[in-house]
């Protein structure tokens, strides 16, 4: 093991823990009715956020779904802005207009937070198109679920991106369920990477519970795209440990199945690896947890105290402000 590997591992672990603890706090805040509406957690899927987003540079673009807390935090959106958005406050990432499902950060090229399944893919294609037309060496990462692969927009976008050789990294977070519908009941062919390759793009099937593997393949795919290959596709096999959303009673999944996936939890998996390689001590871990805990406390306190958007501004942002 090189020190570079150790550093990468530490970063991946820290990102995953940050996302996990953040969402755990969100559950409490949801029960306390501080956070409302639909809230979709990525607990169990953090290796995807940590690994994929790590492969991108600051000029690259990201398009995500309603299950995007992890993507947003890993992209570098300030936790305070994400938390305040979920509280619906003026200091929120989307000025309280979006909530949990619609986090945006134009400066960091984080283009949402799209809650129409597959609705983000065409936008990603367009972002990549513009960057290509302007000769920018950027990649647009587009994250979506296995359910999105059934939508027409998915197939239109795969073809268009491949046809025009656009720099899009399609990242399918295959957590085996689209709400209550299991993968086998939504797809005639469940090998999603294989289907992607039929569009003439390079595709990889990746263990989405292994943060290092995700980081590694994502980095390679991004390099390939920057080299002019056109789009690439990652199928990231993962699992959500929690229900689809806070409204979902999760009656359609087998307890044993959930248990089996929980034993593959990406956070303890990486922690153990690092411990075994003498890359992480108990004190290190306690230190990381303490820092994260403080960051979350600060974000929550700030959100609690933040002002709400005045009702007088109700129709603000419907059109651009012109000066």
């Amino acid at each position: 093991m090189t020190t570079a590997d150790a550093k990468t591992r530490l970063e991946l672990l820290t990102t995953m823990l940050r996302v996990r603890r953040f969402e755990e706090r969100c559950v409490e805040l949801y029960s306390a009715e501080k956070i409302r509406g639909f809230m979709h957690l990525c607990i169990g899927e953090e290796a995807v956020s940590a690994g994929v987003l790590r492969a991108l540079g600051p000029l690259d673009a990201v398009v995500s779904t309603y299950r995007e807390h992890g993507h947003a935090l890993a992209r570098g959106l300030p936790m305070a802005a994400v938390m305040a958005e979920m509280f619906g406050r003026a200091t929120g990432a989307s000025h309280g207009r979006g909530g949990s499902m619609h986090l945006f950060d134009g400066e960091r090229r984080f283009y949402g937070g799209n809650a129409i399944v597959a609705g983000g893919l065409p936008v990603a294609v367009g972002l990549a198109l513009a960057d290509r037309m302007r000769d920018r060496p950027t990649v647009t990462a587009c994250l979506f679920g296995d359910g999105a692969v059934a939508e027409g927009e998915f197939h239109e976008c795969m073809n268009l991106a491949a046809l025009w050789r656009l720099p899009v990294l399609f990242c399918c977070e295959n957590n085996r369920y689209a709400m209550g519908t299991a993968l086998e009941r939504e797809h005639a062919v469940t090998d999603l990477a294989l289907r992607a390759s039929s569009y003439g793009m390079r595709s990889w099937a990746v263990d989405g519970m292994d943060a290092e593997a995700v980081a590694d393949v994502a980095a390679r795919a991004v390099d390939t795209i920057r080299g002019g290959s056109g789009p690439c596709f990652l199928e990231l096999s993962t699992y959500r440990f929690r229900a689809h959303s806070m409204y979902d009673s999760d009656r359609y999944r087998d307890k044993a199945e959930i248990g089996a996936w929980k034993r593959r939890d990406p956070i303890p998996a990486l922690t153990e690896l690092m411990r075994a390689a003498d890359q992480l001590t108990d004190e290190d871990l306690a230190g990381i947890e303490a820092t994260i805990g403080e960051e979350i406390d600060t974000a929550v306190a700030a959100a609690e105290q933040a002002p709400v958007e005045p009702v007088a501004d109700l129709t603000r942002f419907v059109y651009s402000e012109r000066t």
Binding site: G88, H102, I116
Partner: protein, 325 residues
């Protein structure tokens, strides 16, 4: 005749159940309608009773399964297609407008599409701008469709059977605030889907509402009564074609009208109703027709903003007071 107390959700389920028992051509398809029981639990238990052939879970492919409903209807089935939320119906709008609403005419009367599409509509639960809109007015714009909007338990139970008997496509809107509302159901048989209903008689002003706004109009009428103003409340029930007669008769008695609509004001169903009243009852009006609509903004997440964006009882009361003077 026995009366049972039931919810809007259960009434819808009962309507589907009896339609499926009575007519083997009837089947339900949509996302998570089977194993999951429907995202609003409307079809809960139907899979167990009717099996996966007739309670069909679909992948996320609104255009494909709505279009498949059209094809199946043409070929002699009586499909009920459920779309989770009106915003997602936009992925199927091509099929609804360019096929369902058009085939009969375009084929010179040969190809009828007896399809029922059910979908949830409306805001109020902080679901933000991709899950909260009221696009009934858009659908009511389309010739070839019939658009219905049950606002009561009895209509939830009775309208579906009539819709299924209709030879043409019917779009049924279910406001999310109604599913858990309880009411008395006395008959449980089919009801007409041609006429509007007077939900509360009155003499000073007509409040015209549908779906999720009927309860608000009734609350407003209650408040107005306390202030000595007698408001008549109309539930449109069917949004296309509009039952002009009931509207005009009411306005003929009250001489004032306020249209309450959770859709955006510009180009809205409320605009259409106001225009028809102006065209046909202008000389009977004592005041210009007023409208209480949603603010022209994609529905925001934050509670205070969302509530401000929606028609409220206080807005209706204020609109009436402004015209009654």
């Amino acid at each position: 005749m026995t009366t049972v107390r039931t919810t809007y959700r259960e009434a819808l389920r009962e309507a589907m159940r009896s339609a499926m028992r009575e007519d083997e051509r009837v089947f339900l398809m949509g996302e998570d309608v089977g194993r999951y029981g429907g995202c609003y639990a409307v079809s809960l238990g139907l899979l167990e009773e009717f099996g996966p052939d007739r309670i069909r879970d679909t992948p996320l492919s609104e255009s494909a399964f709505v279009g498949a409903g059209i094809g199946a209807a043409i070929a002699g089935m009586r499909p009920i297609v459920e779309i989770m939320t009106v915003n997602f119906s936009l992925l199927a709008l091509d099929q609804i407008l360019n096929n369902a609403a058009t085939l009969l005419h375009m084929s010179g009367g040969q190809i009828a599409v007896p399809l029922v599409i059910r979908m949830t509509t409306g805001a109020g639960r902080q679901l933000a701008a991709q899950h909260s809109h009221s696009l009934e007015g858009w659908y009511a714009h389309i010739p070839g469709l019939r658009v219905i909007s049950p606002a009561t338990v009895a209509d939830a139970r009775g309208m579906l059977a009539t819709a299924l008997a209709d030879p043409d496509p019917v779009i049924m809107f279910e406001h999310n605030s109604l599913y858990s509302v309880e009411g008395e159901l006395s008959d449980g048989g089919p009801v007409d889907i041609d006429t509007a209903a007077v939900r509360r008689p009155g003499t000073d002003v007509t409040l015209i509402s549908y779906g999720g706004t009927v309860a608000k109009a009734l609350d407003a009428a209650g408040e107005l009564a306390d202030a000595g103003i007698s408001a008549e409340v109309i539930d449109l029930r069917t949004l296309r074609p509009l039952d002009e007669r009931t509207l005009l008769e009411s306005v003929g008695r009250t001489h004032r009208a306020v249209v309450v609509d959770e859709g955006w004001r510009s180009g809205s169903l409320a605009a259409e109703i106001a225009a028809r009243i102006a065209e046909q009852a202008f000389y009977q009006l004592d005041a210009p027709v007023a409208r209480v609509c949603a603010a022209e903004v994609p529905v925001p997440y934050a509670a205070q903003l969302e509530q401000a964006a929606l028609p409220q009882v206080a807005d209706i009361v204020a609109a009436v007071r402004a015209m009654v003077g």
